[in-house]
């Protein structure tokens, strides 16, 4: 599989705090790559840099050969970012929100219609899409946002804690949606501190702690290497070392 995202020696600090201390990883075409680690490990900062929201202090990030610093406009056309605590515009209806977002990516009206139709299918909110977002539950908003992120079939979907704050049923639905979209050629870079979710979703994972990547591999490889039953145990053993 072709590598679409290359992250090399990434450093970022906020004042005196070093959030990233030389991060390296790659994401391949059509895979789900996950960053796992505790709160404050540097997952969100990494995703924000890839999503062109933050500038790195040092290091390079390249998506399909485009540099995140120099070609941020080009990169924004290829990515779709779902922040951990994202919201949608409360005064718009669900369908208006999807239309609003689709119009940024579509080359013409026909393509915009395709995006919106796909968005409606992913969100699966039925008639509620005609209601204002302000009336939605947290789970409905999250599904709408995920639909927004995936409907345009980005080269890379960047999902920060995609099931954050959702109940079991909604979390399962969201995971199924993500899995099904990878089959259609979308690559996913996601972060989570829910190790079981990552084990279910990801093709490969990087364990990150204190701004550094400690280990990278498939969940199976990591479990074998650290003689563990699940990723939680793997994480505990790596951190203990």
């Amino acid at each position: 599989m072709e590598t679409i995202l290359k992250v090399k020696n990434l450093w970022k600090s906020y004042g005196k705090i070093n959030a990233l201390k030389g991060i390296d990883f790659e994401v391949r075409e059509g895979e789900i790559f996950a960053l796992i680690g505790p709160n404050g490990a540097g997952k969100t900062t990494t995703l924000r840099i890839v999503a062109t929201l933050l500038s790195p202090d040092k290091g390079t990030v390249e998506l399909m050969g485009y540099n995140v610093r120099k070609d941020s406009d080009k990169i924004r056309e290829m990515i779709s970012y779902l922040p951990e605590e994202a919201g949608a515009y409360k005064n718009l209806t669900g369908i208006d929100y999807l239309k609003f977002m689709a119009n940024f990516y579509a080359r013409d009206d026909k393509e915009a219609e395709e995006f919106i139709k796909r968005g409606e299918e992913i969100a699966d909110l039925g008639e509620r899409l005609k209601d204002k977002v302000g009336t939605y539950s947290k789970g409905m908003v999250r599904k709408l946002l995920l639909a927004r992120a995936l409907m345009i079939k980005p080269t890379l979907a960047i999902l920060d804690e995609p099931t954050s704050g959702l109940d079991v049923i909604n979390s399962l639905e969201v995971r199924e949606i993500i899995k099904s979209f990878v089959k259609e050629g979308v690559s996913v870079l996601l972060s989570s501190h829910n190790m079981l979710e990552i084990e279910f979703l990801s093709d490969r994972v990087s364990i990150i702690d204190n701004g550094r990547i400690l280990e990278t591999g498939t969940p199976q490889e990591l479990k074998s290497k650290y003689s563990s039953r699940n990723l939680e145990e793997v994480f505990r053993r790596i951190v203990a070392q």
Partner: protein, 426 residues
């Protein structure tokens, strides 16, 4: 451009909320209601007013006073009672608003130069405009009669000299000079005329500036509070377009809101002021002094107002980035409000040219000072000052937009925060 229009539509939809519409409708209704009440009160004051008179004199002179009162639109109600105390009691019991008592022997006392006093009783039920205006009118009539009487006496005693010369031996004429134009007239009348012509300009300007800047501040703060900003910053649209869409939408909604408030305000002020026509005399003075807005003046005033709005929007955009949510957006708007209110009040209460040079420079450095000064300067024909103001505001706007664009194109838009609250807490 299609993406910009898409963004602009969204911004306008987000700003025009039910709360905003309800607030605007409520304000219009409230102003209209208060204006109508005021108009009706003023109508009562200007219409025929009842005055009850206890005339204990019944002389030609007291008859003259009553005729003058009737001429001044008072309805004369002569009391049958012949006792002052009873008349006052009667007035109390029957809610009589105005009672005039002309004492017995009043005319004779005037002839013998030992005048008795006319007494006016105003029965107050509320401190409304009507009660004080009625009493003032009676006093003015008495002053006129005093003049009439003293003139008659002077004519009798010194028949060869005009009473007005005797009473006012020094005569004067007032002239107003503006540049090479000169006209005879009262400066206070001209001032009143200019104020009546341009009073709405600073009020409109202040309202538009305040509304538009609060709109843009709220728009950015809402993006942060509702966690939509991060997503918006990752969509494929220029960050400058994001800034511009917010500014244009806020400017438009702010302009419409201020317009609606101004309509309400006109209802309100119309109730108090009515339509006072300017006299022919003042019109002649104004004509001679050329104190009129020309089409060019209107164009320059429009440009000045427009640039002030743009400066306010750009500054509010920068301040909006500092706000984390709607609450902190209110704190962030204070510096801007001060910058608008300082020149607003200064232009109303003082002459900026009379300030010390350093203070004057400081006030002129505030971009919003220039449109407040523009209307008066245009009337006075000081076009160059207005043009300098326009150029200065344009320069300030370019700098502010550049700063706003830089902030939005870097990660400062996410990392800059208002720290005042934390400093106070610590």
């Amino acid at each position: 451009m299609k993406k910009f229009i898409n963004l602009l539509k969204k911004e306008i939809k987000e700003l025009i909320t039910i709360q905003l519409i309800v607030s605007l409708v409520f304000t219009i209704v409230l102003f209209y209601f208060i204006g109508n009440i005021a108009r009706s009160e003023m109508g009562k004051v200007q219409g025929a007013k009842d005055i009850y008179v206890l005339n204990l004199d019944n002389s030609d002179l007291s008859g003259e006073i009553l005729r003058n009162l009737a001429f001044a639109n008072f309805r004369i109600n002569l009391l049958e009672i012949k006792d002052k105390t009873l008349a006052i009691d009667n007035a109390r019991k029957n809610n009589i608003p105005l009672l005039l008592v002309i004492p017995e022997g009043f005319a004779d006392s005037i002839s013998s130069f030992q005048p008795k006093e006319i007494e006016t009783y105003v029965l107050i039920r509320s401190f409304s405009m009507g009660s004080s205006i009625n009493s003032e009118l009676v006093n003015q009539i008495i002053v006129s009669i005093n003049n009439y009487l003293s003139d008659n006496i002077l004519k009798t005693k010194v028949p060869n000299i005009s009473p007005s010369v005797l009473k006012n031996p020094i005569k004067n004429k007032s002239f107003i000079v503006i540049k090479d134009r000169i006209a005879e007239g009262s400066i206070s009348d001209v001032n009143n005329f200019v104020v009546s012509q341009s009073i709405f300009i600073p009020i409109i300007l202040m309202m538009v500036l305040v509304f538009s800047s609060q709109m843009v501040l709220s728009a950015i703060a809402m993006e942060k509070q509702d966690k939509t900003l991060e997503t918006l910053l990752t969509v494929p649209i220029s960050r400058n377009y994001i800034v511009m869409a917010k500014m244009v939408a806020s400017g438009l909604v702010g302009l419409v809101s201020a317009g609606i408030y101004m309509i309400g305000f006109r209802f309100y002020m119309g109730g108090f002021m009515g339509n006072v026509p300017s006299s022919t005399q003042i019109n002649e003075v104004v004509q001679k002094l050329n104190l009129r807005f020309t089409p060019n003046s209107y164009v320059l005033l429009g440009i000045s107002l427009f640039l002030a709005i743009l400066c306010a929007l750009a500054l509010a955009t920068i301040l909006g980035v500092l706000a984390e949510d709607l609450k902190s957006a209110q704190s962030a708007s204070f510096p801007l409000m001060f910058l608008v209110l300082i020149p607003y009040f200064l232009t109303i209460i003082s002459d900026i040219n009379s300030l010390s040079p350093s203070l004057k420079a400081l006030v002129l450095a505030i971009p919003f000072t220039h449109p407040f000064l523009a209307s008066q300067n245009l009337m006075l024909g000081n076009y160059s000052i207005v043009l300098y103001g326009i150029l200065y505001m344009l320069a300030v706007f370019i700098v502010l937009v550049f700063i706003a664009g830089r902030i939005f194109s870097t990660d400062r838009v996410l990392t800059m925060k208002l720290r005042f609250g934390r400093k106070f807490r610590s």
